[in-house]
């Protein structure tokens, strides 16, 4: 803090944060409105639109599907991503350079293109069930986050600790679980959370892979909005925001909020 900030810069930044948070507050307000149309500030407070979410079976179903897909795809991504991140760091010299580039590809390739290609060349070609296609698509979507976050926490891991454990008689697999995993715990939690949130919120892949009977929550929201522009969507949005708050609370509890700054 050697240079004092110009008041104009501070005012500008304050406005930016109003711009960032304001719209979300408006959504919360709209969700609480007693009216049948979207309005802010809310006119009369009511929770009827939250009840309405659960009254609509499509919302009930898609919330469940979204949670299932998010858990499953995150689990799969962790299962294959952690060993991959480990290999990329531990055996960096033995493995070819393009391998780490390969795991950045899902970020480089537009999600829409991935979603469409999975539909055209996998789902339709092999007549794969919708649910399975969604799990595959979402696993790929979140895999790069897992590999990157775990790699970042492995970068500061001293592999000689692992060698020390092995020299003391610990078998390799046990060493992995007792030495390595506890040391990258924060990375695993962060990867889990990032993946879960990314999957829950995904539109670009799901829009191609959902189909009759099986849909995810964001796609259901889009479909609902095409027909009704009522506060139900606002209250679903509030539910999703509540989920985000819960996730941030978990991060705060387990890793401290400073972790988010990284």
């Amino acid at each position: 803090m050697t240079t004092k900030l110009h008041p104009a810069l501070i005012a500008f930044t304050a406005l930016v944060f109003v711009f960032l948070i304001g719209p979300l507050i408006i959504v919360v307000g709209a969700a609480l409105s007693d009216t049948t149309y979207l309005t802010f500030p809310p006119q009369g407070l009511s929770l009827r639109w939250f009840e309405n979410i659960f009254a609509i079976s499509a919302f009930r179903r898609t919330i469940l599907t979204s949670l299932q897909i998010a858990f499953l795809s995150t689990f799969i991504a962790l299962l294959i991503g952690i060993p991959a991140a480990y290999a990329l760091n531990r055996y960096r010299i033995q493995l070819p350079g393009w391998l780490s580039t390969l795991f950045v590809l899902p970020i480089l390739v537009p999600e829409l293109v991935l979603g469409f290609s999975l539909l055209k060349n996998v789902a339709v070609q092999f007549n794969a069930p919708i649910y399975l296609s969604l799990v595959v698509g979402h696993s790929l979507l979140v895999l790069p986050y897992v590999v990157r976050v775990i790699s970042a926490s492995l970068a500061s891991f001293d592999f000689s600790i692992e060698e020390a454990a092995i020299s003391l008689g610990s078998p390799p697999l046990k060493t992995f679980f007792t030495i390595l995993l506890p040391n990258v715990r924060s990375g695993v939690i962060a990867a889990f959370i990032l993946s879960f949130i990314t999957s829950i919120n995904d539109v670009s892949i799901s829009i191609f892979l959902t189909g009759p009977g099986i849909s995810t929550l964001p796609i259901q929201i889009l479909a609902h909005m095409e027909q009704f522009f009522d506060p139900t969507v606002a209250s679903v949005s509030v539910l999703l925001m509540a989920l985000t708050v819960a996730v941030m609370a978990i991060v705060e509890r387990t890793l401290g909020l400073t972790f988010l700054a990284k």
């Binding site: 293109v113 969507v233 999703l240 941030m248």
Partner: protein, 274 residues
């Protein structure tokens, strides 16, 4: 032995990416060259259509404007955040992370409430007598850009806070000790050192905007069609998969080209990497 261990641990993820990402995407691109009408026919068709050229141009325009605005807002905000005292910095970072973790649909929806014909902004403008009649703000290019900026500013801020915090305090003190006024320190030391970060942020925002679907769909609709929404329409409404694949191929090529170009530029401009 080590090589084998490395490969066997990496192979499930490698296979997953190759089978479910590389092959399908490559297949999508290849099919565009194998149409009965001739190898380049879909591209001739795409660039021959005035409408599609307009969509491509509009997408580039929206992405560029979004990127420039997000760079400007993001850099100033990140600068202030990085110079804030610890407790305030944590609060501001949380305030930036929260929208980032909130989904695209929710965030775009918020702007529909604000910009709608009966929305808050129109309500305020009519209420205060600034305008007589509600204006059409939704389904304009402006609406798409505002929502896209909203979408990407948090990402830009977080990227740049990291970059600005990695500039050692010593350099700023050295600059002051050599007589540089705060503004000179900003333009001659901080800004040049932040250039690689600005490039990374610009790449993220440009490619994100260029391939966006939900936001232009909700705030731009049919009248403001961009590459993402056009591709979806071709694939899922008119079921013209060759056309959708062509758009996909163009999106992939432009995205990868931008990423390669900018990362190369960032590398060249990064003095720390020497």
């Amino acid at each position: 032995m080590k090589r084998f261990a490395g490969w066997s641990l990496a192979s499930p993820a490698t296979l997953a990416v190759v089978i479910f990402l590389v092959l399908p995407v490559v297949a999508t691109i290849i099919t565009t060259f194998l149409t009965p009408a001739g190898p380049l026919a879909p591209y001739i068709g795409f660039f021959g259509s005035g409408f599609r050229r307009t969509v491509l141009w509009r997408t580039i325009q929206v992405s560029l404007i979004t990127t420039v605005i997000a760079l400007f807002i993001g850099f100033i905000t990140a600068y202030v955040v990085s110079r804030s005292p610890g407790w305030l910095k944590s609060i501001l970072i949380i305030a930036a992370v929260f929208p980032l973790l909130t989904g695209v649909v929710v965030r775009s929806f918020a702007w529909m409430i604000i910009l709608g014909k009966n929305g808050i902004l129109n309500g305020m403008l009519v209420g205060t007598g600034i305008i007589g009649e509600p204006m059409t703000m939704l389904y304009t290019q402006g609406a798409v850009i505002v929502a896209m900026v909203y979408l990407f500013v948090p990402l830009m801020v977080l990227t740049l806070v990291g970059v600005l915090e990695s500039i050692p305090d010593d350099l700023i003190q050295a600059s002051a000790s050599l007589g540089a006024k705060p503004m000179a320190t900003f333009t001659q030391v901080i800004l040049p050192l932040a250039v690689p970060g600005l490039i990374v942020g610009a790449v993220l925002v440009f490619t994100g905007s260029f391939t966006a679907y939900a936001t232009p769909q909700l705030l731009g609709g049919e009248s403001q069609m961009v590459m993402g929404t056009l591709m979806y329409q071709q694939a899922m409404v008119t079921f013209d998969w060759v056309s959708a694949s062509t758009i996909a191929a163009i999106m992939v090529v432009i995205t990868i080209a931008i990423v390669l170009l900018m990362t190369r530029m960032a590398k060249r401009l990064n003095p720390m990497a020497v």
